[in-house]
Subunit: 390 residues, 2 copies
Amino acid sequence: MIFNHFETGRSFAEKLDREDKLRHFRDKFYNPEENTIYLDGNSLGKLPLATRENLKQVIDGQWGTRLIRSWNEGWYSRSAESGKKLARIIGAGEDEVIISDSTSMNLYKLAYAALRLRTGRKKIVSDELNFPTDLYVLQGLIDQFGEDYELKLARSENGITVSLEEIEKVVDGDTALVVLSHVAFKSAFMYDMKAVSSLVHRKGALVLWDLSHAAGAVPVDLQGSRTDLAVGCTYKYLNGGPGAPAYLYISKEIQEKLFSPVWGWFGEADPFAFDLEYRPAPGIRKFLVGTPPVLSLEAIDPGLDIILEAGMDNLRKKSVMQSQYLVLLFEQLLKEHGFSMGSPADPALRGSHLSFQHPEAYRICKALIEPQNTHIRVIPDFRAPDNIRV
Amino acid sequence: MIFNHFETGRSFAEKLDREDKLRHFRDKFYNPEENTIYLDGNSLGKLPLATRENLKQVIDGQWGTRLIRSWNEGWYSRSAESGKKLARIIGAGEDEVIISDSTSMNLYKLAYAALRLRTGRKKIVSDELNFPTDLYVLQGLIDQFGEDYELKLARSENGITVSLEEIEKVVDGDTALVVLSHVAFKSAFMYDMKAVSSLVHRKGALVLWDLSHAAGAVPVDLQGSRTDLAVGCTYKYLNGGPGAPAYLYISKEIQEKLFSPVWGWFGEADPFAFDLEYRPAPGIRKFLVGTPPVLSLEAIDPGLDIILEAGMDNLRKKSVMQSQYLVLLFEQLLKEHGFSMGSPADPALRGSHLSFQHPEAYRICKALIEPQNTHIRVIPDFRAPDNIRV
């Protein structure tokens, strides 16, 4: 097992690079600064060269030249088409994923729909490690549905993981929906999706996963884990570009029972009939709202192609090896300088990023990004109060 | 008065072109097909050359090179900054407009907020000429708020205009909100904003204008007309690009009383504190939701600059002259072939587009777009069942 053979020192690292079968994928991205080591794909993925080429065509050819005609030449179906492609990365059926709006908006739409479907149940469950935005959206829905509704958070005993027992404590017969991040944004803690789904379903509730830090980073199997609902962004590991539109997933089984709170024309049965009465489109399309931001939407596809070509299992294998190597370096080089691990030690409980904690994390990040005594720039991610995320 | 001097014939048209003070603005846009006459800026505006240059920098420089650092180098404040610029075009204060989401989403958020503010009043008013999407969003809100709520549409007697009397008939003491398009998408009928506002306010309701077919097409004075709320898209007359993010306006007077149904992190008081409890940002920013689609967002600014440089009054003057000229050509050349006017005859009652009706409108549009016997291609807009919009 390769994990026993890790060594510190440059020559060993170079050996790993040479043996890396995914090595040539680096050349599929725009790398203008050879001395910058970018470790922040967990926040904003890099620019694929194919996207760069594609955008030239979108701007000059589609917008600039074809103009309005481009709606019938690809734009109109892109939300569904890119959704189909993404479905292959997250273990979903091809009519179960659609690109739409932002992650927050999608969470709002799906959580609202779930509360309506489970009328009578008045509790939403999440956890303390969830991305705060997700909690904000849920708090807003509680405010909207009324005083007898509540949001209950499962506790994390160590700030890094949440046990299945803690989830079990807060999910009950009054729970309509459980909303969790598959991979936690700060600690990278990763839930066992299947185990959580099964627990949630036993109580008659629906489960909604936020895949923002998971899709493209770890293998995800939405169908296999019997997931009801999911949302996520495309601008991290999927390399879709800054603020690229997000996606939503609805299990085929419940698609016809769920309705969006926002009755938009891209979700209407026949938008160009301009009928005065709304009729929801069949299937998942009814969760589309308004005209999508085409430049950002058209930037998504090439990044998905790269993931599909590399293969999620290969990516996971490399990711585990890299992060285990990094843990070794941490043990041997960083620990004595007041750093501690902010992520689970067991790679099976982690996504693909790692958090290291240090009281001076903010200044350390700053020094890495704007180095004074070296020409090598390293870009990690700072997450308050003391996390360096790589 | 120039309207008396219109003549048919090419030499007169060329004379008008020569005398056109805005003539050089054509060169600020990408015009790759010299034989294409694009008359569909009311649906998708053309690509400004400055946007084309700007996008290269956004893609290679900001995303490709600066990566995550770009958030602090312009992206994060762009929604507010472009909002300030747009405010100057629509007569709003600089803290009253923000770029966000799609028009439908913004209408949803603002109409929801208005219904909550006017709790107890259970009626929303709109009209039969409104863009169907706007009606869909309102129908969705009615469904959400409950059975005792209703959407009431003011009638149009002729399918082209709506009289103030018809509005007055349906607005009463139970009306929470009146939602109208300043310029109707099909007929181009334009309301007197000030007169409607004053009527609505007398009944204690709020007024919300959809400016999608107005902003950049006609002078709009939101403050002068005492408008409470407005939404609109940036991809028509403002030339922001396909599906470019929309905007919303909230009068300073009521900003602190309104709250978004979607509690998103870009609308949170201090998003990067990652606090678990949502606190709305002060002012209009609380109506932002998730991460904006940066490529599409960054495409908006140069189009706004062009409008500001040309001046709305100059644009309106030219637009009225052009459309009056077109009406003359219609009278002399088209009328006898079964065409009729689908827009008000009085330019003061119209936005900047014109609709002509013909039973064969669909086929006529098709023949103009894909000409068989001429090298000149004309791109108008077909709107079911029988409108040719230019």
